[in-house]
Symmetry: C2
Subunit: 223 residues, 2 copies
């Protein structure tokens, strides 16, 4: 395989991995889930501790319980937000409304998504200290979310849609109790629904990278 | 492009993206860095806020200053750690020693790495609240580290090595002041060195995914 070809395929896969919130009823096999989890497991982690555990929910009755907590969390969260007072353009407003409608659709139909994957992270002290005091080397999150992203990219490569969601954390205690997860040891880093998209993969709207890139000194936008 | 071929290329790229800590002096072009940053920028973020800023350090004199802070942070951090009391196998011990030696090498040679990319995240309040109290929907990290992982995967597709490091956070204030970053607005999520590896890409050691995967209920390892 040529280097150029590899780069083309990988970049196209990254660029077209967007949040998918509407799924068909087509099933997803355990083997497909495991292949995506193998990709997740290969992500880097601080000191290679690989802290995350995966809880894969496939049984309809368990999915329904998780989905009920997700729906409650989502609607409480949406109600807590102010609508943006103004948009820079009609395009921006329509984009915001489409995302909100899709997010509501997901919240109201999560029980019908074929597979729900919970990424669990340990509740452990992270960091270190020496004579001068504690050393802030970042949070455990740096070791979990790269795995979530690997999972979503591998899924997209198999034609499977995903969305990185965190709002279910509002009901962390209830969800962990429901699924038998020791709540003193784990919290929820993300809930990722997995299924075949009703629509198509595409490139999501983002700010141009040049607008948020600085060269050698903050504020220097061009070289 | 067939779906199977896409999946093969993407998965192989993910599986062989490992931390690279020894680099050649071969230069990395600005265009290559920007292409990897475009991949980073396409990552998901809560509410699509795209919170991160990228600070790309290419000038040797600036790299040397950042590298000096990194080296101090790394050696303080390494000294603060206890050596593992025992290893399950000689393989485990040798793997741990190789990683430590490579990490030291990176800390002592960071100034010679062609490009250093700082991922900055805003110091903003994240989350929401309603009548019942605050809603914990997770931390901003969930919106930054997927971008770092996209960056590392895109780099590997171009034959470029990277490592997700966070230890420079020990000297966050000093580094931000040095680079003109407003310290009341940003913190450092990661420092990613970028260059051509002296060695080869390969599959890093990880726990088997089956050992950390649960089906429908925590503790249920097989279906």
């Amino acid at each position: 395989m040529s280097e150029d070809h590899r780069a083309d395929v990988v970049l196209e896969n990254i660029m077209t991995t967007r949040a998918i919130r509407r799924f068909t009823h087509e099933p997803v096999s355990d083997a497909e889930v495991l292949e995506c989890l193998r990709a997740a497991q290969q992500a880097p982690s601080g000191g290679n501790v690989q802290p995350q555990q995966y809880l894969v929910v496939t049984e309809p009755e368990v999915r329904a319980r998780v989905a009920a907590w997700y729906g409650r969390a989502y609607h409480r969260y949406e109600a807590s937000l102010d609508d943006p007072a103004e948009f820079r353009s009609d395009d921006d407003r329509r984009s915001w409304e489409r995302t909100r409608d899709a997010s509501r659709h997901l919240a109201d139909n999560m029980a019908d998504v074929p597979v729900l994957v919970l990424f669990l992270q340990p509740r452990i002290a992270w960091g270190s200290e020496d004579d001068e005091g504690p050393l802030d080397i970042g949070r455990l999150d740096a070791s979990v979310y790269p795995a979530v992203q690997n999972f979503c990219l591998a899924a997209r490569a198999h034609g499977l849609g995903t969305a990185l969601t965190t709002v279910i954390r509002v009901y962390t205690d209830e969800v962990l109790a429901d699924l038998g997860v020791p709540a003193d040891r784990y919290e929820i880093a993300a809930l990722v629904p997995v299924g075949h998209p009703t629509g198509r993969f595409g490139v999501a709207r983002r700010k141009p990278v040049e607008a948020v890139t600085h060269w050698n000194r903050f504020g220097d936008r061009r070289r």
